[in-house]
Symmetry: C2
Subunit: 427 residues, 2 copies
C-alpha cells in the first residue's frame, strides 16, 4: 500500500514555515501499514496542485493533501481536486449549520466566504473539524483514494486521529501496521554509540534499526510490520536485547515522546524523593526541563541560579577564597553548589551545573568544560564533561546530562565503571 503526501501552501515556499505536517502524516500512515515514497509541496496554485496530483497518482493508491481548505481566495485545494477529478462540489448542510452555530456562539454571523469551508466533493466522506471550521474529506476516484485535510497542525492532528485513521483502517484493511520502539540514550557521544551497533545497522533486515539524534541524545528506532502487537513485540525483542547488551549503561527509557526529565520525575515520584537545583551556566534550562513535565510539583521544590560568581558565595555560601582558588567552573564548585542546594532546599537530592558555555572561555576554562554536581543521602559527587558545539548546544546537553546522571544515581546504576569513565569525555 503506497501513499503520497501533497502539502499545499505558499507559506512553505517562502522559507519561514517548516513542513511538520508531512512528518506527522508519514509516521501516522506508516503505522496504518502504508509506505510513503514521495512528499510534494506546492503553493496555492491550481495548476501546480494538479501537476503534483498527476505525479502522485501514478505512484500511490492513497494521496493525502493538506492545506488550502480555508475561506480565502487563496484556498484552492478543494477546487483543484474537483477540477482534476471532474467532480462537483456542494455544501454539506450539517457542517454549514455547525459553522453558523459556532460563529453565533461568539455573537458573529459567518461571512459568505466562510461557507466555502463546508463544501464537499461529490461522493466524499466528510471528516468533522473539532478545532477549526474547515471540513476535511475523503473521496475515491480513478482507483485511488484522495484525503483532503486542513493545514493548521492543531486541526489536522485531531482530525486524523479521530476520523481519518479509522476511515483508512476500514478502507485499506490489508495493511500490516508498522510498529516501532524508540530506545533513548544519553551519556555517550553519538559517534562512539553508533560504532558499537554499526554491525547491527549494516546487517539489518526485518526488523529495521535506525539511529538518529535529538538535542544531544541518541534514539534507536526499531521497527517491523506485523499483524498484531504481540507478533511485532516478538519480532522486536531479540534486536532490543542485542542493543541493550551493548549500550545498557547509556539507556534511559523507551518511547517516541518521552524525555529524560519525564523518566526522572516518575522515578522520583515513585520513591517519594524531592529535588532542588543550583545552576550556573545552564541558567534555568535544567529546572525548566524538569518543570515542563506535568506533576513536577510533587518532586521539585525549587532552585537557585547563582550566575555571577559572587552570587555563588552570597546566595549559596560557597567560600570566596576556595572559589578564587578552584574556580567557579570546577568539580569542587559543582559539588558545593549541589550540597548547598540540598541543604538550603531541604530536599532528598541536590543537582548542579557549572560550565564554560562560550562563546568566550569562562573562568580561564576552555569552552565546553563542564561539571555536574550531585548531592544525595549516600554522598556527593561531580561528573566532569567535555562538550562540543554552540553555546545553545552545550547548555541543553549539559542540562539533559545532569538529569541523566541523577536518574542513574537514583536507580543505583551509577556505579558502572564504563559510564563513569565515559562521562569524562562527553560529546
Amino acid at each position: 500500500m503506497r501513499a503520497g503526501i501533497l502539502t499545499v501552501g505558499t507559506e512553505l515556499l517562502v522559507g519561514h514555515v517548516v513542513n511538520t505536517n508531512a512528518t506527522y502524516l508519514t509516521a501516522a500512515l506508516n503505522e496504518l501499514g502504508f509506505d510513503v515514497y514521495f512528499h510534494l509541496v506546492v503553493g496555492d496554485n491550481r495548476m501546480r496542485i494538479r501537476e503534483a496530483l498527476s505525479f502522485l497518482e501514478e505512484r500511490a493508491e492513497l494521496i493525502v493533501l493538506t492545506g488550502g481548505l480555508g475561506p480565502t481566495d487563496d484556498d484552492l485545494t478543494r477546487d483543484a481536486v474537483a477540477e482534476h477529478l471532474g467532480l462537483g462540489l456542494k455544501e454539506d448542510e450539517v457542517w454549514l449549520a455547525k459553522i453558523e452555530a459556532r460563529k453565533g456562539s461568539r455573537g458573529q454571523t459567518p461571512l459568505p466566504r466562510e461557507g466555502r469551508q463546508a463544501l464537499l466533493l461529490e461522493g466524499a466522506t466528510p471528516f468533522p473539524n473539532e478545532v477549526g471550521l474547515a471540513l476535511g474529506m475523503a473521496v475515491r476516484a480513478r482507483g485511488r483514494t484522495y484525503v483532503l485535510l486542513p493545514g493548521p497542525p492543531g486541526e489536522l492532528v485531531p482530525m486524523f486521529e479521530r476520523h481519518v485513521a479509522p476511515y483508512l483502517r476500514e478502507a485499506f484493511p490489508g495493511g500490516r501496521p508498522l510498529v516501532s520502539r524508540y530506545l533513548r540514550f544519553l551519556g555517550l557521544e553519538e559517534g562512539a554509540l553508533f560504532a558499537r551497533i554499526e554491525d547491527l545497522v549494516r546487517k539489518q533486515g526485518d526488523p529495521t534499526i535506525a539511529p538518529y539524534t535529538e538535542e544531544g541524545e541518541v534514539i534507536l528506532r526499531l521497527a517491523t510490520r506485523a499483524a498484531t502487537p504481540e507478533e511485532a513485540q516478538e519480532k522486536l525483542a531479540p534486536l532490543e536485547r542485542a542493543v541493550l547488551e551493548r549500550l545498557g549503561p547509556y539507556y534511559y527509557g523507551e518511547g517516541k515522546e518521552t524525555t529524560v526529565a519525564r523518566v526522572l520525575l516518575d522515578e522520583l515520584v515513585s520513591r517519594g524523593a524531592t529535588l532542588v537545583t543550583a545552576e550556573s551556566c545552564t541558567g534555568g534550562e535544567l529546572a525548566s526541563r524538569f518543570v515542563s513535565e506535568a506533576g513536577a510539583s510533587k518532586v521539585y521544590l525549587g532552585g537557585f541560579i547563582p550566575y555571577a560568581t559572587d552570587r555563588k558565595a552570597a546566595w549559596l555560601g560557597l567560600s570566596p577564597r576556595k572559589l578564587a582558588e578552584e574556580g567557579a567552573v570546577s568539580a569542587w564548585s559543582a559539588v558545593e553548589l549541589a550540597r548547598a542546594a540540598r541543604r538550603l532546599g531541604g530536599s532528598t537530592y541536590g543537582l548542579s551545573t557549572t560550565c564554560a558555555a562560550g562563546p568566550a572561555p569562562a573562568d580561564g576554562k576552555p569552552v565546553g568544560t563542564a561539571y555536574v554536581g550531585l548531592s544525595a543521602p549516600e554522598g556527593d559527587r561531580a561528573y566532569a564533561l567535555r562538550l562540543c558545539g554552540s553555546r545553545g548546544h552545550i547548555r541543553v546537553r549539559l542540562a539533559k546530562l545532569a538529569l541523566f546522571f541523577l536518574l542513574k544515581a537514583v536507580r543505583g546504576e551509577d556505579g558502572d565503571p564504563e559510564l563513569l569513565s565515559n562521562s569524562l569525555r562527553q560529546g
Copy 2:
C-alpha cells in the same frame, strides 16, 4: 528564475525527521532572486530520485538536491544524478587528499568507502565542505543547473553561504533578490493583532506582507524584489510605517533571528543595568531564555526558582500569612517576588512570574491565570494575564511576555494605556 528542491533521505519518509533543509534553501534561494515552486522528498532510491528529477526538470532552471552524499551504500544521490544525466564520476584528488589529512589528524586511515565522498560529476564545480567530508557540487546539463549538497544542516548551511550563493549569483546574474524585513510583536493576542492589519494583508501587492506566529509571538514579514538594498528599503518603508502606526505598542524588534531576550539584553547592556529573576511556574524558562544569549553575564546576576509555595516564604521572605491570604498565584505574590529578587540580588531590576500552568488549577486559580512582577528603581508593578494553551505554551509565552514587559518598562514605553489594558487579556 525558477528553482525546485529535491530532498533525498529515507529518514524523512519514516516520520521522525522534519525537512528543515527545504525551508532553509527556499529562503536562501528567494534571497538570490529565485522562485521556488516545488519541493519533493524521496527516499534513498535511485529510481525515485530520477523520477523526481524528471518532474522538476520540466518546471525549473535550477534543481537543488540535498542528502545522500555520504559514504554508505544508501547514499545514492551522486550515482542517480550521474546516471540520469549520462555523466561520469571521478575522484577529486584535492578533496581526497583533504579527507585523508582530516582522518589522519585524528590518527585514523579513511575507510575505502569514505573515498566516495570525493567523487565529482564530470564537469562539475566542487564546493568544499568545511564541517564534514562530503564534497558538494554544481553541474550544468540539459540547459539546467543541478546543485548537490550534503544532508546534515550543519554542513549544508555553511556550504551554501560560503560557496553556493556566490556561485549562483554569478551563474544567474539577472536575479532581483527578495529582500525581507521581519517585524516582531508580543503582548497582543494573534487574532486581535491580525484584525488590525487585515486590510493591509488583503490589499497587498508589492511589497507583500505575510503574518506568521512563533511560540506566542507574531512576526510580520514584509518582502519585495529589488535590484539594490536601497531600492528595497524605499519600497518597504511606507508599509512598515503603516504597520507600526497600528501596532507600535506591541513591536519589540526587527530581524529574522532576533529574540525578545536578545533585544532586552542589548538594551540593558547599553544602560549598564543588571537583572535578577524569581520564577515560580516558568521554573527557569525565563532565565534560560535570557542566559541563552551570548553576553548575558554582563547583565544577569542570577535568579531564584521558589517553586513550592513554602520556598517563596523561606527563600525570598514572602509573608506566609499574606501568601495564604492572597495566594501564590496573585499580583501581590508577583510584586513581592520581583522585589525580593531585586533586593537579594542587588540588581537594577527584579523580574518575576507566577501562574497556573496546568494541567490542573493551581492555588485555586484556573489554568492560564498568570502574573508578571516587575521591580524597578521607579517603582514596582504587576501585569495580570490570561493565557491559553498547553502547559508548555503557557510557560513559554509567560517567560517571553515577562521579558517584553521589562523591555517596555526599561524603554519607558510601558505607560501606553492600550498596552496595559490589553495586557490584561493576553492570548
